[in-house]
Assembly symmetry: C2
Homo-oligomer: 144 residues x 2
DNA sequence: AAATATAATTGACTATATCAACTATATTTA
DNA sequence: TAAATATAGTTGATATAGTCAATTATATTT
């Protein structure tokens, strides 16, 4: 259990996971970028959703979110409505097409996850999940 | 053990890990980009190392590698020598400064890893590591 | 010797990401 | 309530990451 070899394992897993997700996504035929996928998921989960919500959830710059949302609007995946509580901000909502896209992406994610978990026991998966959660908590605690 | 919640856990872990590594790296004072770090590790491990080796190991474009190596040379972290076996290519080697930089980066990685593993038992870590390896194998098998 | 392959470079381009300045609105406080 | 301050979002400039096609100089194959 040497920390360095574990580092390598984690990095390799990250790398493979990312690559597989990208490939699976491109195989759906929809030429949608990873950042677009993440934004759509956030918009799908949080309602109402403002640009600020997206920026905070993704931990990214407001400027980038503005451009991201503009791209999504240009692709007819989302639209904006005025926020009745605050005239500075707007609510961002999925269009019909956007909702369909979210379904496709969820399916792709599920398939990659299932492929990744093939031949791994329920107990092992549960343990992995539990440790991953503990690690995430350790890392996020480091911030403050 | 629902696949979707596990997906979220993995993504969150990846995100936190990446962020912590970036932060820890910037705290060393060396303003070095992630891709530079990766290249230095590769050059450190493989000797002799050509631009082609870096491109293959990182799975990136040759053009990008050329520019990456030029940056590293400009920062006096590596240098080039003629490859005696092939006059088209050159060997890329760490300078003294480059070797020091690799040591600093390895220390940073180790610290983040240890922080991440805090209060997690040896058994759990071993299980995590084993499952991570199995998952990586599943994912890489998917390619062919 | 000619054709083909490979290593590296360069130019042009696109995507991703961040910072600082700005506009418009909200909120706080004096 | 008027002035100061904070916040939501946009824009411009710039940096980093990544790709494609063309080119040069060697190597290898036929």
């Amino acid at each position: 259990m040497c920390p360095l070899s574990m580092q390598d394992n984690i990095m390799a897993l990250f790398y493979q996971f990312k690559g597989r997700m990208l490939q699976a996504l491109s195989e759906t035929g929809s030429s949608i970028a990873p950042m677009h996928v993440k934004s759509l998921h956030i918009i799908n989960r949080k309602s109402p959703c403002t640009a600020q919500d997206i920026a905070l959830t993704m931990g990214r710059d407001k400027a980038q979110v503005t451009r991201l949302v503009n791209d999504l609007i240009a692709r007819s995946l989302v639209f904006k409505e005025p926020n009745p509580n605050d005239r500075r901000s707007q609510f961002i909502t999925l269009t019909e097409t956007g909702q369909q896209q979210v379904l496709v992406m969820a399916k792709v994610q599920k398939e990659v996850m299932e492929f990744m978990q093939k031949d791994i026991s329920e107990e092992d998966l549960a343990a992995f999940n539990r440790v991953a959660l503990a690690m995430t908590e350790n890392l996020s605690a480091a911030g403050e």
